[in-house]
Symmetry: C2
Subunit: 221 residues, 2 copies
Amino acid sequence: MDFGTDFKPVTVQPQEIEGLSFQMITAELGEHSFSSLEYPIVQRIIHASADFELGRSLIFHPRAIEAGINAILQGKPIIADVRMVEAGIAKERIQRYGGEVRVHISDPDVMEEANALGTTRAIIATRKACAQAPGGIYVIGNAPTALLELIRLVKEGKAQPGLVIGMPVGFVSAAESKEELRKLDIPYITNIGRKGGSTIVVAAVNALSLLAVRRAAGELG
Amino acid sequence: MDFGTDFKPVTVQPQEIEGLSFQMITAELGEHSFSSLEYPIVQRIIHASADFELGRSLIFHPRAIEAGINAILQGKPIIADVRMVEAGIAKERIQRYGGEVRVHISDPDVMEEANALGTTRAIIATRKACAQAPGGIYVIGNAPTALLELIRLVKEGKAQPGLVIGMPVGFVSAAESKEELRKLDIPYITNIGRKGGSTIVVAAVNALSLLAVRRAAGELG
């Protein structure tokens, strides 16, 4: 095979590749029961993972999409669990409405307090975020301890997230933390099982902010 | 379920969770034909994805691990395809030996040249990296066009990567770009199929730098 100037994939533009990928995903996924506003999230997560099993395992609280769109359009902050998630989120569509993306896991005060209390930085970072950002979108793709702490704070009335995107990946406590999230009657996007991770939750946020832009433009009714 | 102070997962330390996860992965993976130096990479990728199918799809060039360890210990740069990959790489173990992590996708000169030539930023960023970083570790988890361009430059004798970690995720050209990579006789870590992504290649780099630390400490023989 010769990669000359006529080798097609090299000259195809990213937007064309994305459109073609989305068509392939829709064809291959076949029947599903996601709503028309949930489906763009599912589609972008499959696009980011090439994993249909993961796509089919997604669970949306009935108010999740509306709550997420509203939080973005009201300029509420997005709280990422790790810097990799922060790096992946498309900032312009968040900042356009006055929002910003925050990540507290490496804040000096968080590291100090976690050391002093002998607990994880993820837990202390969650407490800090909840104190500072009521109504924000909490995005957790890694530490189950962060999600469990957020659930605890919600139950105690100490946190009022606008939306929780909770899909920690892993073998210890990840699936269980998502089960606990699904018992709450607050807006959430999650999935069943061990899978998840930074790229998955980033895909969810970026799909959601595209919906927010369409809502702001009057395209979603 | 009550998340009091005696709720176990909240008080388990991250290192313990990781060790337990790795034991579960080894038990569940069962028989495999990876070498003792390849297996830590496989294990960490499964840890980051909870995806055994992806783990089993990994392919290592025979010189991949040695080449990667040597590149790190010689302080060669690591070139990430996107900022999310850069964000996820454990920097301290790279910087310890004089190396650094670079990402060119948003460099002003790259954006300008891509616009001028009507091609993708990923391609121009790859050209820039190859001109500046012979012997570096190229880490591609996203754009197949970046991997295809790197392959083209290698074939033309214009790039001499120390190691290529090439696992772009996606539906268009991703699997095909990895097939082309596997035809080269240069050190690579890749996989068969559509899966991959930022978290996957980050896991590979971070597992590799742990091996480099062990080699430096005389633990790997």
